[in-house]
Symmetry: C2
Subunit: 239 residues, 2 copies
């Protein structure tokens, strides 16, 4: 089975949550938009010009196609929910519906935190440059740093407790939490320095997994940058 | 089977998407926080003081419990994903995993639109009053009205095409789209007056379904108000 991931080619963004799951599982996949003519292929699918027998074009990247199948699945949490049991990264079988819902719920909470991290530098409009909403961003960042980062991290630390992984066994939600922690550390190093020690250990455990470590050291892992979701603007990381 | 829904008792909010699914299916459920001592029960579960054998307390309402079972499922999209096949509001069975993912993806896109509708009046912090972020809200609203509402509505109209429902058969994503349209019409009547006719017809089809019509006419349906997600502030509905 070969997966095709479609995501913007120059940023980690939300696509990274899918990449981490595919990499941890050692799945065969193509990061389509990073191949020649890949962005054009992404745009064609998004415009509904091809693909998708079900007739549901994606609203935005990331989206996933199983090579040889028609359906295109968009929305990070839906993609991960779909991939989870196939990749061994969430519970399998009809009787595990509730267990999968709990992983889903954690993933959606990580996704909410990631969305807020983007809102910090774009509090007015995604269509404007950061420079055009800097004043508002600075005001929002104060609240994000003082209220929201601690709230999310304390929650995940409470869920984790003294377990190794959020739900006991490793799931895609742990990989996504790793990415949230990595991103917050990059964008808000001062604020994130106070992250609960148990979460730092989870982050380090994910980072040390052989396939993840190999991925992070490879050219497939794009660096964080100031076009992505997690941006390091020192003026937003103040107290 | 009796479902317990936990959500803030005075607003429609995200809980409304779950209510609509339960109502359309004629499911037996208790809107716990609207019962005597219900908010206290909600708070106990959220603090992890009781419930949840899986040990995953919810981050925020809404959350759902099947009476007699331990697990608490939070996050609107995860709740709906869980309820969908049980309520006949999304495809059933192991071979319908892809079909469910498409419903999931549509739901998550409706959820994104709803989250943005909230960000419009709270662009700086959820912890501040609207009055304390009115200037920024007005600036954000201009973009929401001119760019985001049309983008979302055009997308859903494209998915709907000339079908009766988004994926052919009625699912919870159609009910959620109804709620998005109702909410936008309440909060941004001027901007929403230009909604595609096909979406208005979908809205009206949902509204006319016997159980939904009975629900909307009942005291169980809370009115829109200015504590909820969709708030009518005329100054935010300008061009």
């Amino acid at each position: 089975m070969i997966y095709e991931l479609y995501y913007w080619p120059t940023i980690q963004g939300r696509g990274e949550l899918v990449r981490l799951a595919l990499e941890e599982a050692g799945a065969e996949y193509v990061d389509v938009a990073r191949q020649p003519q890949g962005v054009a292929a992404l745009m064609r699918l998004m415009r509904g010009e091809e693909g998708s027998e079900g007739g549901i074009p994606p609203f935005a990247p990331p989206f996933l196609r199983v090579r040889g199948e028609d359906a295109i699945i968009a929305q990070t949490a839906a993609i991960l929910r779909f991939l989870g049991p196939r990749l061994g990264l969430s519970p399998k079988g009809e009787d595990a519906e509730t267990a999968r819902a709990l992983v889903d719920q954690l993933q959606l909470t990580v996704s909410d935190a990631i969305a807020e991290a983007h809102e910090v530098h774009h509090p007015i409009a995604a269509s404007l440059y950061y420079e055009d909403q800097k004043v508002e961003a600075k005001r929002r960042a104060k609240h994000f740093v003082a209220e929201r980062i601690p709230k999310y991290l304390d929650y995940f630390a409470r869920v984790l407790g003294d377990k190794e992984w959020l739900t006991g066994a490793l799931t895609y939600a742990d990989l996504s939490l790793f990415q949230l922690l990595a991103g917050l550390s990059y964008a808000f190093p001062r604020a994130t320095a106070k992250a609960p020690a148990s979460l730092v250990r989870l982050h380090d455990r994910v980072k040390a997994r052989p396939r993840i470590a190999a991925y992070l050291a490879s050219a497939r892992r794009l660096p964080f940058n100031e076009q992505g979701i997690f941006r390091h603007y020192p003026e937003l990381d103040e107290g």
